[in-house]
């Protein structure tokens, strides 16, 4: 029980941070035509900002299920990595049902705190850690969705930019500090613009909510950057080997 309380305490700041983000999600979902209850259920059952956001665009655009599944998969691919990393940090004998409960709330922030634990992550601790963020994420969505109904169309429109600007605030600082992240961000943005505006290939963004365009842009961007790094590693190794022979 002690561990659970410790988890609650650690998770509470995440809960507070989630409220404004999910608030804007609620606003956008209602602007797109979902009702507040639907918006809230989507948040409660997904716990994923970018994934949910792309998802509602696709659902609203009437995209086929396969596009919805693949887009959700690619956008949430990072959770797979986090889940994998976390699988190394729990006791090997932890039963499947406990792992299955933990899996529900592997978000960026919860993962970050859990992976900072010095010892193995216990089930009560993670349970406490995830409780308030789930509450905050759901509550914020509900509030945003209800508030959206009270705004004028102009204000509702302007709030649509909020979530995008949060994305900007997430990607710009690391891009400023690391050149490779900057390349990744720019390449993906350019590709995404190409897929929207260049005749012929813009069919990708015309279907449904543009899921394919996001997938292809992101995968190409990440693949290009990972390959640049691979080539650099290869050259460095070759240089070192060459040096050893001299």
């Amino acid at each position: 029980m002690n561990e659970f309380v410790r988890g609650i305490k650690k998770g509470f700041p995440i809960c507070l941070g989630y409220i404004p983000v999910s608030f804007t999600f609620g606003l956008i979902a209602v602007k797109m035509g979902f009702n507040p209850l639907e918006a809230t259920i989507i948040s409660l059952t997904n716990m994923a900002s970018a994934g949910q956001f792309a998802g509602i665009r696709l659902i609203e655009g009437g995209a086929p299920y396969i596009e919805l599944v693949i887009t959700t998969f690619v956008i949430n691919l990072r959770y797979m990595l986090m889940s994998l990393s976390l699988s190394q940090k729990v006791a090997p004998e932890m039963p499947f049902y406990k792992r299955a409960i933990m899996a529900f709330c592997i978000t960026d922030e919860v993962f970050a705190l859990a992976s900072m634990e010095k010892e193995d992550v216990t089930f009560p601790f993670f349970g406490g850690l995830m409780t308030t963020p789930i509450f905050g994420w759901t509550l914020g969505t509900c509030l945003g969705a209800v508030a959206s109904r009270m705004l004028s169309p102009m204000l509702q429109g302007c709030f649509g930019i909020a979530l995008y600007c949060m994305f900007i605030a997430i990607i710009i600082p690391p891009a400023r500090k690391g050149r490779k992240v900057a390349i990744a961000v720019i390449v993906s943005a350019l590709l995404s613009c190409l897929f929207k505006y260049v005749p012929g290939i813009n069919v990708l963004s015309k279907s449904g909510g543009g899921g394919w365009a996001i997938i292809v842009s992101a995968i190409l961007g990440a693949a290009i950057c990972a390959s640049i790094k691979e080539v650099k590693r290869f050259n460095k190794r070759k240089l070192q080997e060459g040096g050893a022979h001299v």
Binding site: A50, V181, K229
Partner: protein
């Protein structure tokens, strides 16, 4: 909605539920490291330019979106927090929307 929730959950469940080996391919690790940045970037650009357009409007409201986006980029560059960047951008967009009809 159900399909989206299931996909999101399975992605998280499968590794922690079943996998017990370590990733050792460096290219795959780098690729997964870059994916979040690339996804967010591809989702944001160019769609952010259409984001201030009210539902049902016939022409996109590019001007307010573009000015607000530039303000957001500058603020993000200066390491301002998420919520501050978003709120200021919304405020800028509202101001532009209010001022545009006055100017033209």
């Amino acid at each position: 909605m159900l399909i989206m929730a299931l996909t999101t959950y399975l992605i998280r469940l499968i590794p922690i539920g079943f996998v017990r080996t370590k990733l050792d391919n460096e290219w795959v690790r780098d690729f997964l490291f870059y994916i979040p940045f690339c996804v967010l970037s591809a989702m944001t650009f160019p769609d952010v330019l259409y984001s201030t357009t009210p539902a049902g409007a016939t022409t996109p409201h590019f001007v307010s979106a573009a000015i607000a986006t530039m303000v957001a980029i500058v603020m993000a560059w200066k390491d301002r927090g998420l919520v501050r960047v978003a709120l200021v951008a919304v405020l800028v967009a509202v101001l532009v929307e209010l001022l545009l009809p006055v100017i033209f």
